[in-house]
């Protein structure tokens, strides 16, 4: 069973008097089929958590495992391959390549990775996210919300086992935000993905199987 696990993870930035602890003794596990929401105010360590979980940062202490493989023992290239094949990333900004149309954002994924979504599943996802009429548009022809939906679709297009999303609904209205969370929830329950969403948007709590709160680097389970 696919899982992502953080054991006793700690992250310290700076040295001496400027040193501060961004994450303190985090123990966390996300299993296939679960949607997990991590809420917390700005600066609470949410993005640090997400980047450590994806192997983009090394923890100061503790281990991160994906499918029981310790990330710390992998080479940079192996970690990159793991992200390409196992993780779908949705980030806050710079998500889309500005000179590619919406359709070409997906073609780019095809260029580096096979085994992406089938045509029918892809079309279904586009319809749910309301992207079908936007396939020929460039990012600068889209609103912030539309861009964010394209970024979500691109992350899902590679059919990853894990979806890590950093404030995915920040630019969306309530209706779209709920649609996105419902899609994540469907992916978790029907397609057996593990979905981890970090956000400060508490509207989304009802759509998550588990909710954690992260404040000043300390994580508590709320639900």
């Amino acid at each position: 069973m696919a899982n992502l696990e953080l054991q006793d993870v700690k992250k310290v930035y700076g040295t001496g008097s400027s040193q501060y602890e961004a994450l303190t003794q985090i123990n966390f596990k996300a299993n296939q089929g679960e949607t997990i929401l991590i809420v917390g105010p700005s600066g609470s360590g949410k993005t640090t958590f997400l980047t450590i979980a994806a192997g983009l940062q090394t923890p100061s202490a503790g281990t991160v495992k994906i499918d029981d493989k310790v990330l710390g023992t992998m080479s940079v290239k192996q970690q990159s391959q793991l992200r390409l094949h196992k993780i779908g990333f949705v980030l806050q900004a710079y998500n889309l390549v500005p000179y590619l149309t919406v359709q070409e954002q997906f073609t780019l994924v095809d260029k580096v990775k096979t085994a992406n979504l089938t045509a029918s599943k892809f079309n279904e996802m586009l319809a749910i996210l309301g992207l079908t009429p936007l396939l020929d548009k460039y990012p600068n022809q889209l609103s912030g919300g539309q861009q964010q939906r394209v970024a979500i679709a691109r992350a899902l297009y590679g059919d990853p086992s894990f979806i890590l999303a950093d404030e995915p609904t920040a630019s969306l209205d309530t209706e779209r935000a709920i649609a996105v969370m419902q899609l994540f929830s469907q992916l978790a329950h029907l397609a057996h993905k593990a979905v981890i969403v970090v956000t400060h948007d508490t509207r989304l709590e009802d759509y998550a199987d588990h909710v954690y709160e992260l404040v000043d680097g300390v994580m508590h389970r709320l639900k």
Binding site: T48, S80, L82, F89, V97, Y99
Partner: protein, 354 residues
């Protein structure tokens, strides 16, 4: 490939300007290469047309044909070997009063220089007081049958033919017989024909023992032509400098463009897109820019060479131009390595932030 081409199609102005820059510098390099070749050719065209590989000159003449006189003794040793050259630099004037500088070269019709001459119009024969002259004279208004008076002498020669590639030391050649040259030089006062040098078709001809003369390679002789080395070095320096400019221009442009794209590249790397894919795209983009600029310059330089007046000494040698083009592309790729370094170093976490 995909990213590189899509970006260039989308950002036409930006990449068009960059191709324009490479085109301009390449065009300049090609024109300079052509001029360098052309001027060098004016120095050596006649020697090249003879396909001479070596030449015997007086060893005290500093490898300079006009300054060389083969001694009587060595002339006997070299008799019936190679092709004897008698030379007189001066002015020639036709019956209409038109004057031109000329290298009057006396050659024997039974020796290889004459045999290798290709006459473009007129007849290939050379008797006393006849001349086969460089085509440049035709451009200047001289015609077959014209009588040329060699300035400051009473000697007149009749043009019986024209030949291409006949310039020596930048001056068009008038081929005539050694006796005619002797007559012009000494006004009939000297019976022994003066020989300035003896050319050979092979690099190491069998010579007897020479006392006052020495064998030099054709390249040694050409390199020692007055002004030839300074001229070649000047052009090579300019071309080399332009190559460095190309390297810097490409490096700066690609560096700026890559720096602007780093946030996107950071996200793509975070999503697992291999660094090698981004590097390949950047290198391919540099190659496409350089090849496009070079090809446009190549086309335009061929057109330029075709429409420039004959007086401009430009000679486009495709192999030289292709080599220069390859060097420009090589420099562009070298320049692209600097932004590539930034992509390799890029830490996606720095873009995503914490």
């Amino acid at each position: 490939m995909f990213l590189a081409i899509k970006e260039m199609k989308h950002e036409k102005l930006r990449y068009g300007l960059m191709i324009g820059m490479i085109f301009l510098v390449s065009y300049l390099v090609f024109i300079l290469t052509g001029l360098s070749n052309g001027l060098s050719n004016l120095n050596r065209a006649a020697v090249d047309s003879w396909q001479a590989q070596s030449i015997v000159l007086n060893k005290d003449a500093q490898i300079n044909l006009p300054q060389s006189v083969i001694s009587n003794r060595d002339r006997q040793v070299l008799k019936n070997k190679g092709a004897q050259i008698s030379l007189l630099s001066g002015l020639v004037q036709n019956q209409a009063g038109k004057k031109d500088s000329a290298q009057i070269v006396g050659i024997k019709t039974n020796q290889f220089i004459f045999k290798r001459l290709k006459v473009t119009s007129g007849t290939k024969e050379l008797h006393s007081k006849q001349a086969i002259v460089a085509s440049a004279f035709k451009t200047d208004g001289f015609k077959l049958g014209d009588t040329l008076k060699i300035a400051n002498t009473q000697v007149k020669v009749k043009i019986v033919g024209f030949t291409n590639n006949a310039t020596l030391n930048m001056v068009p050649v008038v081929y005539t017989t050694p006796k005619t040259v002797n007559l012009a030089k000494y006004d009939g006062q000297q019976t022994t024909t003066l020989v300035n040098g003896v050319a050979f078709a092979s690099k190491k001809p069998t010579l007897g023992t020479l006392k006052d003369s020495k064998l030099y390679s054709a390249e040694q002789y050409i390199n020692k032509m007055p002004g030839n080395r300074a001229q070649t070095l000047t052009f090579n320096f300019m071309i080399g400098f332009l190559m460095v400019i190309i390297l810097i221009v490409i490096a700066i442009f690609l560096y700026i463009l890559t720096m602007q794209k780093l946030p996107n590249f950071g996200v793509l790397k975070a999503q697992g897109l291999p660094t090698s894919y981004l590097v390949k795209n950047t290198l391919l983009q540099a190659a496409l820019l350089a090849v496009s600029g070079v090809l446009i310059a190549l086309g335009l330089v061929l057109i330029t060479a075709a429409i420039l007046p004959a007086i401009v000494p430009i000679k486009i040698q495709i192999t030289m131009i292709l080599l220069s083009g390859l060097a420009i592309i090589g420099m562009a790729m070298l320049g692209a390595l600097i932004p590539v370094r930034e992509i390799i170093k890029l830490d996606p976490y720095q873009i995503i932030g914490g």
